[in-house]
């Protein structure tokens, strides 16, 4: 493109802090940009402003109490965090979870994925300047929060699962409301697409912005929609099924070029796949208990394990080491998908403009509560 003699135009670079107090860094992310005009020469991503030491805290809490701490990591998708944690402890203890609990967990996790993607789409579009989509998405997310409120009484940090199953069965009529929500969400998806998918400005702002190839994405540790946007069909739900995913049918959408637009398309398709999963799970929801045989005192035998699930942001992994003597984990480690995805930001933004930095942070979909823990 630029056949201009580059060096002639070189000037001193401007160092500018984007964040931690910035409207588009999705919390307290700080990106130190080195700019030549508006072009990003280099950047340094600084995190840790929301570090609360959840890992350390968890090593001083009971296994049952930790569920509550996991809520505070990816607060946009708290139930997913609960699910990952509970499954890890169950794996460590060899607990069997009743099928009904697995199905309800799947429904909750997928509702949560839709809620999280709603927040993502809204904020991402707003970062690029399309304000209205945000309000639409928040409207739909509100319906999910209502569903969760009816299920467990909370709207943001649910504490909605427990080791071995669920604390509560679904209330009467809840499934009907979930179906109703699915219908509404499916309709509204068309609205979002009308506003964005074929919008020329949207295309110009997202196409060929932050392109990352499949092998590069794997190497830098991307997971979830950003990885799938680069054409790698990797989804923990398919590859290492957990909960009830092995009994449900769904597709894993992948992108072609790995740019911001592909990541957008992948997530939009995931809305539809999640709705599909929820419908199937509701159709096949088995009867039975919601809690398996769980010892009164949760005290796994000595040993350690790593277990990953597919959170809305990517691979959410838990590594738990038990010493076999204590009722709290000896080592509790979370592999937050946002943390690893955020690492790619530097690679993505180099050579792009300031406006793209914002678009790229949005397209990675980071939640700082999870990055910093």
């Amino acid at each position: 493109m630029a056949n201009a003699p580059r060096p002639m135009f070189d000037t001193e670079t401007l160092v500018i802090n984007m964040g931690p107090q910035h409207p588009s860094t999705h919390g307290v992310l700080r990106v130190v940009l080195r700019l030549d005009g508006e072009r990003v020469v280099d950047c340094d991503v600084v995190i840790g402003y929301l570090h609360r030491g959840i890992e350390k805290l968890s090593e001083n809490r009971d296994y049952t109490q930790i569920v509550l701490l996991t809520d505070r990591m990816d607060y946009v998708a708290a139930a997913t965090n609960n699910l990952g944690y509970c499954e890890t402890v169950e794996k460590l203890m060899g607990l069997e979870v009743p099928r009904r609990a697995k199905y309800i967990r799947t429904i909750l996790a997928e509702l949560q994925r839709i809620a999280s993607h709603n927040v993502w789409l809204g904020t991402h579009a707003m970062d690029i300047g399309a304000v209205t989509v945000f309000l639409y998405n928040i409207r739909e997310r509100e319906l999910i929060l209502d569903l969760f409120e009816e299920y467990c009484g909370a709207r943001l940090t649910y504490n909605s699962m427990r080791v071995g199953g669920l604390p509560l069965d679904i209330p009467a009529g809840w499934d009907r409301k979930v179906r109703e929500f699915c219908r509404i969400q499916e309709e509204k998806l068309v609205d979002y697409e009308l506003l964005l998918t074929h919008n020329r400005i949207w295309l110009e702002r997202t196409r060929n912005v932050g392109v990352i190839s499949g092998p590069d994405a794997i190497a830098i540790g991307l997971s979830g929609p950003p990885l799938r946007g680069s054409g790698v069909a990797r989804d923990v739900r398919k590859d290492e099924p957990y909960a009830a995913y092995d009994e449900l049918e769904f597709d894993v959408p992948v992108g072609a070029t790995g740019d911001t637009y592909d990541r957008y398309l992948v997530r939009l398709e995931e809305f539809r796949q999640s709705i599909r999963i929820i419908r199937q799970a509701l159709d096949g929801l088995p009867e039975g208990p919601i809690v398996g045989k769980v010892p009164r005192l949760i005290k796994p035998p000595a040993g350690e394990t790593y277990h990953a699930i597919e959170s809305p942001k990517g691979e959410l992994g838990y590594f738990i080491a038990s010493d076999g003597k204590s009722t709290s984990p000896y080592r509790f480690r979370v592999r937050p998908p946002s943390f690893c995805n955020l690492q790619a930001l530097r690679q993505l933004v180099r050579g792009h403009l300031v406006a793209d930095v914002v678009a790229l942070i949005g397209s990675i979909d980071v939640v700082l509560g999870e990055v910093d823990r």
Binding site: R234, T305, Y306, G324, S326
Partner: protein, 209 residues
């Protein structure tokens, strides 16, 4: 010094205390005799059997233990061997077993996006013992190793960018060590308590101003 108000309560009499005396490491049980190791394990063994000090199997997870010196060789084999192809570094973390002489376990959780299998690699390292960085093998390990350094003080060497990541740059101590109290740094643990106190007071006066 005694006149100075103590910045935090002493580290003694905290629940952490009872952990320090406790376990000396995870059992890392060997695989049962009737269980055939998967292809990636045999391939790794065939490629550099000497590097694998121990093999462990627990609740479905395979763990390969190795030494810091041979870590990079093993990492390359695991990434490049056609039977392994562990191209995705899920996680790098550590755990602290202070009762043991080489107190840190550095744990690498690997995944193959092509073969769809997982393995963990584990390295035992003493405090200050150099552990080579694997970020040359998996660029994803960059930040993860920074976190390991930040939280545990595992001496990751040849790292392209070894800075603290979650804690402030001038932080003293490594918070996820077992002898680091939950409520924050007591002066007992500090590498140089006087220096720390001086910095802290200077900072708080600066804040007041």
């Amino acid at each position: 010094m005694p006149d100075e108000p103590r910045p935090t309560p002493p580290a003694a009499a905290r629940p952490v205390e009872k952990k320090i005396e406790a376990p000396s490491g995870p059992p890392d049980p060997p695989p049962p005799a009737d269980l055939a190791p998967p292809a990636f394990v045999t391939a790794a063994q065939a490629a550099l059997g000497g590097a694998i000090t121990q093999l462990s199997y627990w609740v479905g997870d395979w763990t390969i233990l190795t030494t810091p010196a041979r870590l990079l060789d093993l990492a390359r084999v695991l990434r490049d061997d056609p039977a392994c192809r562990f191209d995705f570094c899920s996680d790098v973390t550590a755990s602290d077993w202070p009762a043991r002489e080489s107190r840190f376990d550095v744990i690498y959780c690997l995944y193959s996006t092509r073969r769809r299998h997982r393995v963990r690699v584990k390295v035992r390292a003493a405090d200050g013992e150099p552990v080579p960085s694997v970020s040359g093998v998996w660029p994803a390990a960059n930040w993860l190793e920074r976190e390991v350094w930040d939280m545990f003080g595992v001496n990751v060497v040849n790292h392209p960018d070894r800075r603290r990541i979650l804690m402030p740059d001038d932080w003293q101590g490594h918070p996820q060590r077992k002898d680091y109290p939950l409520e924050g740094p007591g002066e007992l643990l500090l590498e140089d308590p006087l220096e720390w106190l001086r910095l802290r007071n200077a900072q708080s006066t600066a804040e007041i101003e």
